[in-house]
Amino acid sequence: MSNIIQLAYLIAAILFVLGIKFLGKTKDARKGNMLSAVGMLLAIVATLIDLNLATFPEMLACLVVGGGIGLYYAKKVEMTQIPEMVALFNGFGGLASLGVALSDHFLKTEILAVEIDTVNSVSIIASVLIGGVTFTGSVVAWMKLNGKISGQPITFKGQHALNLGLLLTFLTVAVFTFLYQDDPMYITILVVISLLVGILVVIPIGGADMPVVISLLNSYSGMAATATGFILNNNVLIVAGSLVGASGIILTQIMCKAMNRSLMNVLLGGFGQTTTSGPQDGPQIVVKEVGVEEAAMLFDSASSVIVVPGYGMAVAQAQHVIRELMEQCEKRNIQFRFAIHPVAGRMPGHMNVLLAEANISYDKLIEMDEINDDFSNTDIVFVVGANDVVNPAARTNPQSPIFGMPILNADKARTVIVSKRSMGKGYAGIENELFGYPNCLMLFGDAKQTITKVVGELKEMS
């Protein structure tokens, strides 16, 4: 390889490093993606220069076809379907690695008819295994996510035993592949097994855990690229591959942590349902949870916030930390107000006493009648330990004991974040269907403790 190409690879590698670095920072993420794309282009062009001009037509064809398909789907896909799309793309990446490894294997065994040395052989086998698992695993994840197969974990007896058996078989056959390099049967078996393992490993995992799985498979496809790098003795593949491999593992761990799960727990499968409202009678309300970090991001990007305090704020004594939240938001020029329901709390003026204690000036406290029309223009309504006073049943359900009570139109806001400890009921003892609304996110935990964390995150962001 010529020096100039090596240099191009070096620069590409640097661009990948910078790309990943920036992708982790909200502000620079797009620039990061750009940088790594430029790196990729550089690597491709440099490679092309080095190659046989005669094979250029078919290469171009492949590039155009692949590029076209990729671009088409990237453009067409709806925002909500992006995770599945990423899964599929990732699968293709894995399959490509497998393809390159096989190609090299057959090139050496059939055309060049040379002996494949140990390093190469190990690399090829690793590439096949990881590439295969990535491919079928990603495809299963993709199908689970877009509903082509059920999102429920599929488990059966002896699953773990089967996986173990397959892995042992793989290792045995791998040795034969190395010893009898000319016989294509062995390598074919390896391919089949890896594809099978990919399926078996992912089906027992529930739909809700798929993002973690995809992140893990993404890390794998990086490792597959690294293995390919060893096959081709190519630095840029190794750098890029191991960057992705390592950062993918970390990202996976971060995602698990954000879900309060361990990686093991995810991988052993059978989990990953959507949270429901526990074992209560009546129609179960399915809610979406939000973590403190994400809640902080939501506040960070809002331009108006209304806090709806309730009895839970008093119980948690969260008024002081809410003032801190206010200070953080106001530093960002976010409009921040309080909507005081006339019967929030357990005595008239309960919220007033506490918010005054926290030194929140009176002009931030808005009466229900005055603020009720503003909710629909508000980015975030933050319901802190309130329940009955934002229960839409008061408007809609004549059977409800609170029917006819005027309530705060919190549900009309773009996003509702509810801070409470559990799905516990309020004073009136009734379910609140607001919590299941599509624009509603539950921030579970004692209000003071969780909001303290949210404020901590916000401080770090600035």
Binding site: A314, M347, P348, H350, E357, D388, P401, G404, M405
Partner: protein
């Protein structure tokens, strides 16, 4: 429909049933409103304020011509005598205490609605005068107490020595009790609270008070949020706990009521004796018999060195707020029951059922009946 408001005649009563703001609201709903001249004086609402709001201001006789009469305190038999046949009236009634009033009403076939019988359901919160007035009373009780006390409430470390914070002991964490906690805390006192309903513990603590838990709290019957009846055993244990705490208290506020009954005695003469000279007791239950053995209704007396305040009408000491809130309560109930064309009673509806005492010459209110028939 013509709505009439009489001037209150009870001693020390400064409230009035409608405020000028609410008169405006009723006019918008096309009610006619007549106010007795001078009715609003105690609350600093002048006759001209009412006139500007659209009411007619006239002598009592003009008011008695109305279809619906409004008051804060129960109508007297004499007042009822001056009403039109088949008219209606709304006020506090405490009907189970006044059989002669019921008789008078029935004689004239007057439909009467009682503000103290508004059911305590979410929907009716805007009509709940008991809560709105108790809330103000809770605030006022603390201020009265602080004013009678020879010390200040907050801790203060000064060059001339440290003033220790006052200790306030509150009996009953209902609406009034909670507001009293909040107010005393604000002023910097240490607040301890006792109540028979265990769920009040959390509420007390949410306001920064310390809840005195009575061990072995069985025997408390709760009905619709009210403490219904308390077992003798519980009361005794509670007293024992209190006996310790009350010795150190500077201010004691008692708010314990039991609906339809004489209020429980929580502070005995012995306990008063054990208190520090100069300490103060505000007995908010004095109207229904008092929580303290020694307190006297509408009097402030000093016994065993302790000042006992028996103010029976605390909300009236905050007439502006009290009248404003009461006016909202009573008008909300009125608008629930009637429109410009007259009453539209749905006898099955919970609020109507709850507040209607006499109708078409008969006592129809079950709870009142049950008490009076005893």
């Amino acid at each position: 429909m013509k709505v009439g408001v009489l001037k209150e005649t009870k001693d020390y009563e400064l409230r009035v049933a409608l405020s000028p703001d609410v008169v405006k609201l009723l006019k918008k709903k096309e009610f006619d409103v007549v106010i007795e001249s001078g009715a609003g004086d105690g609350s600093y609402f002048s006759d001209s304020d009412y006139e500007q709001a659209g009411a007619l201001v006239g002598p009592a006789s003009a008011v008695f011509e109305s279809d619906i009469l409004l008051k804060v305190n129960p109508f007297t038999v004499e007042e009822i005598g001056q009403m039109k046949e088949n008219a209606a009236c709304i006020s506090y009634m405490y009907a189970y205490q006044f059989p002669e009033m019921i008789e008078a009403l029935n004689k004239k076939s007057i439909s009467s609605f009682s503000m103290d019988a508004v059911p305590r359901i979410s929907r009716a919160q805007k009509m709940d005068a008991l809560s709105s007035q108790a809330n103000l009373a809770g605030y006022k009780a603390v201020l009265l107490g602080a004013n009678h006390l020879g010390k200040i409430f907050p801790l203060m470390m000064t060059a001339s020595g440290t003033i220790t914070p006052a200790k306030v002991l509150i009996f009953g964490a209902g609406v009034a009790g909670l507001q009293a906690i909040a107010t005393a805390k604000r002023l910097g006192a240490l607040v301890e609270v006792t109540d028979v309903r265990p769920e009040t513990k959390e509420q007390v603590e949410s306001l920064g008070g310390r809840f005195l838990t009575v061990e072995g709290a069985e025997g408390v019957k709760i009905e619709g949020g009210y403490a219904k009846e308390v077992s003798a055993e519980f009361l005794e244990k509670q007293q024992q706990l209190i006996r310790e705490k009350i010795k150190e208290a500077d201010l004691v506020i008692t708010t314990a009521l039991v609906m339809g009954k004489k209020s429980p005695i929580l502070v005995t003469e012995d306990m008063v004796k054990s208190m520090k000279t100069g300490s103060v007791i505000i007995d908010m239950a004095v109207e229904s018999g008092g929580n303290c053995e020694l307190s006297e209704k509408n009097k402030t007396v000093v016994k065993h060195g302790v000042t006992l305040v028996g103010e029976s009408n605390l909300p009236s000491l905050l007439p502006v707020n009290a009248s404003n809130l009461y006016a909202v309560n009573i008008s909300t109930l009125l608008l629930h029951l009637a429109n410009r064309d007259g009453f539209q009673l749905d006898m099955e509806e919970e609020i109507t059922k709850g507040v209607l005492i006499t109708h078409r010459g008969e006592l129809v209110h079950p709870f009142t009946k049950s008490i009076l028939s005893k």
